[in-house]
Structure formats: C-alpha cells, structure tokens
Amino acid sequence: MRAARLLAGLYPPAVRERWGQDLCREVQATGLRSWPDTLAGAARLWFHPADWPETSTGQTRRVLTVTLFVIASATVLLLRTGSPAVTVTTDIGHPLTSLWLAPLLVGTVLATPLPPLRIAALCRLLVVMVRLLAVPVAQVGILFVLARNGILARATGWVDAALTLYYWLTLASVALCLCMLVARVVRAAAAPAARRLSAALLYLGGGLALAAGQRLLAVICGAAGFGVIVQTVMLGLLAAMALSTGQDLRKKAAPAG
C-alpha cells in the first residue's frame, strides 16, 4: 500500500485529488507489473498541464510556479555537483559561455509571484518567511564562519567528509526552503497569469537547453568525464520538461485570450 501511495503521490496534485484513491487501489491490485505504466503516466501528465483537471481556481498555475522554482533549484544543485566546465560558466567576464544564465534568470523573474500589497498579508508572509528561512540562513552562516576561519580548507579525513556532507545538506536545505516559500507566497498572492507563466517556462527551458548544449560541446571535445555526461543528460531532461510544459500551457491559455 505504501508503494502504491508513493506512486500515486508522483502525479500532479489536481490528478491526485481527483483520481488518487482509485489509482492507488488499481496499483495495489495489479502489483509490481503496473509500476512502469504508472510512472510513465505520471511523467506524461507532468509534461501536459493542459490535461490537469482544476480542483480549485488557479491550481494549475500555482503548481507550475512552484515546479518552475523546483527546476531552477535542481539546476543549481546539479551544476554544483560537477567541476566547472570551460563551456558553461556563471561569470560576467565570459559572456558567451554564461549566456545560458540570462533566459534562466528572465524565466525565474517572470514566474516570481508578487505578494499582496496589504499590511496584514505582508506581515503574515514575513512571519512565514522568517520561520522557513531561519534554519537555512543559520546553516549558511555556520558555513561562512567555517570558510572564513580556514577550517574548510584545512579539514582532512572524516572531518572533511562531514563538512562536505554539511555543505550539501545546506545547499539542499536552502533550495527546499526557497521552494516551500514560493509555495506559501503563491497561495497567498495571485499566481502569475498563464501566458506569463508559459513564457517563464519557455525562457527557463531555453536557458537549460543552452546549458545542456554547451555541456555537450565539452563532451564532444573530449574535455569531460562521466559526471559531465550525466549532468548534460539531466540538464537536457529538465529543459525538455520546462519547454514541453510551457508549450502545453501556452496552448491551454490561447483560446482564453
């Protein structure tokens, strides 16, 4: 039952709310052989938000806004996993190889939900923000102190391993809390309009496709190891997801205006 619930949990929220219980029962009744089809069904639906039934107004846009930030966070974490490549940089000094960052940032800015301009609502959001970001800010602060004191550079053996683990936990914690914050803000504020969100996803996907292409260049030139190949594939998948979702949302938004 736990596996069936987990698989049903992979579906977009609107589909889960509508069909989650039936889906769970069907997976449980069919067993292990239904897992590939269930996973493929979830992936197909994530790529096609126009097929999601809306169980509340603006639900699709809210979910896609959070998804966009999850993709952006995953990209940052993914790029941190490998050693920097000369073909993909994040440096103003190398504008050509850092070009991929521009559409990614434009997409992120376009999708940023604007908080409601009411004092009471802003105060509530501020409280939520402090609660959510207190831990990651403290974690980053500790990391900063460790780096400033040279402890990170001098560490060896298990201390080095523990500090590396701490570094990754901090990055993951920051990414998770920022996505949770976006989810809370988008619930209280008006979610970006479908056209704006679609453009945001297409910009993000464009930036990711560019980054994947630049990484591929390093692979073709033979200046990359297995890690970079995996990174390239993952970036390509994230790009495909953002582009397909953006395109599908644009089709859904088109008849409305």
Binding site: R18, W19, E26, T30, P36, T38, G41, D51
Partner: protein, 103 residues
C-alpha cells in the same frame, strides 16, 4: 498503450453507460482482451474530463469520494462517432486491399 488509444477505449465503454474507474477497466478488458495500466487509464480519464468529453455521473459528487462514476458527454459522443467512422473507413479500405470481405 498509446494515450489516444486509451482515450478511445474509455469513450467506447462509457458510450454504453456510466461506470467507475475499476469497472471501466474491466469493460475494456472484455472488449479488447487487455486491461489498461493504471497510468494509462487514469491519465486518459483525467484528459477526457479536462477536455469535457466525460463528466461525473452525479455532478453533486464530492471529487474525493471513494468511487467516481463517470459518463460520456455529448461532445464525447460526437468525437467517438467521428473517430469510429474514420477507423471504419480505414479498416474497410485495408481489408479490401488485402482481398478480405469486410462483411
């Protein structure tokens, strides 16, 4: 199974009368000899409902209720009729080309 095929199968069995998810799959098994996987079935139901081709049999039903009985809409019937007529033409032409009498 291809998602369009899954949608056509769901529409075909619902053309006979309202059914819930599990019963839809049982009817599909009787019709085609194979059940749809959960991802194909509920993906098709989600798409068809979103595009107004099927709807809950009782509009007052709670979306989170245990078994949601679905029925085909007029738009769903029209689409099914068009698709089946097209398939019949293709089927007839194919059988004729093979020298098989469609009747």
């Amino acid at each position: 199974m291809h998602s369009n095929n899954a949608q056509m199968l769901v529409l075909t069995v619902l053309a006979d009368g309202p059914l819930h998810g599990y019963a839809i799959n049982t009817a599909i098994e009787s019709l085609s000899g194979t059940k749809l996987g959960p991802g194909s079935l509920y993906g098709a139901l989600s798409r068809l409902e979103t595009h107004g081709l099927i709807r809950p049999a009782d509009e007052a039903n709670d979306p989170g209720q245990r078994h949601r009985t679905m029925q085909i809409t007029d738009a769903g019937r029209n689409l099914l009729r068009t698709e089946l007529q097209q398939m019949a033409r293709v089927s007839s032409a194919g059988l004729h080309a093979l020298g098989v009498d469609p009747a």
